[in-house]
Symmetry: C2
Subunit: 161 residues, 2 copies
Amino acid sequence: MTDSRWLDAREARLWQSYRDAYRELMRALETRLISNSGLSGADYALLHPLSVAEDGVLRTRDLGKSVGWERSRLSHQVSRMEKRGLVCREECVSDARGSMVRLTDIGRKAIEAAAPDHVDAVRTYFFDHLTPEEQDQLTTVLERIVNTIPTDPCAPSTCDE
Amino acid sequence: MTDSRWLDAREARLWQSYRDAYRELMRALETRLISNSGLSGADYALLHPLSVAEDGVLRTRDLGKSVGWERSRLSHQVSRMEKRGLVCREECVSDARGSMVRLTDIGRKAIEAAAPDHVDAVRTYFFDHLTPEEQDQLTTVLERIVNTIPTDPCAPSTCDE
DNA sequence: GTGTACTCGGTGATATGTCAACAGAAGTCC
DNA sequence: GGACTTCTGTTGACATATCACCGAGTACAC
């Protein structure tokens, strides 16, 4: 066990602003997204990778990877969106365990209608406040952090030391 | 309406890593927090400001501000924690509308037991990958972003232009 | 005072997310 | 082939978050 120092005032300020920024940013984006398009953040999160995928189809597994969600969450969300006609499920020909999620015409129209204002909002609330240099620096440190986070914090080497 | 340019590859990469970093970081922290202390992230979020408050008491409104939650979410969470004996509610003497949330002995012991490892985890997954200069730069840009996010995106000047 | 608008916290219905468990299929090793 | 493990997606029960609303109290103008 390491001797864990407390966070000092400077560190606490960073940690606070890190979480505040994410929370407020997502809240602002989602509020605006819903009022402008009727799509939730979760809807948009799934529709986007589908819309850029070939033929608007992705294997459920790959869709899950691109949004970083657990399988059950993804399955429930797809079911809800299927009811609303935004997507539909299909069988996976190459692997009988799998399933495919396909963007419907309604789904494509929905994201195409929502995207411009959403992108504009992301620019307004996020990118517009960062210089190109700051953007590059931010990408560097965030990717560094992502790449060192253990997939399972209770894996052999990490949990019992 | 502005002419909203699409995100280019560089921007999309930053936006992706920004969300990935937050999601994976919080997932890793919460998993470890729960396994080490039995407290959820939401529990910890409320217990921390209470533990540093004078006498371990805060007005519900102020507790809400310090975590940035909506009132109903806060109320539900406090109710659940009250059932488990982590906190208790009290009347607010200065304002009969208000209520106070107080840390119980059980609650204080719980967060004191959880905090060292949690802080260690925050260092391990986040601070240890940033130089002091990067930390300061990050604080600067994040605070800049937070301070420009509108409280209500549909306020008069923003929504209809 | 009285009327009005606003603040504060809570509630129940609903929406969403998580967890444990399952079934079927595919991969692996012998 | 057969035994075993892993992968994939789904489901239902449960936990948590959000939404619309209420009721009581306060602030303020008059």
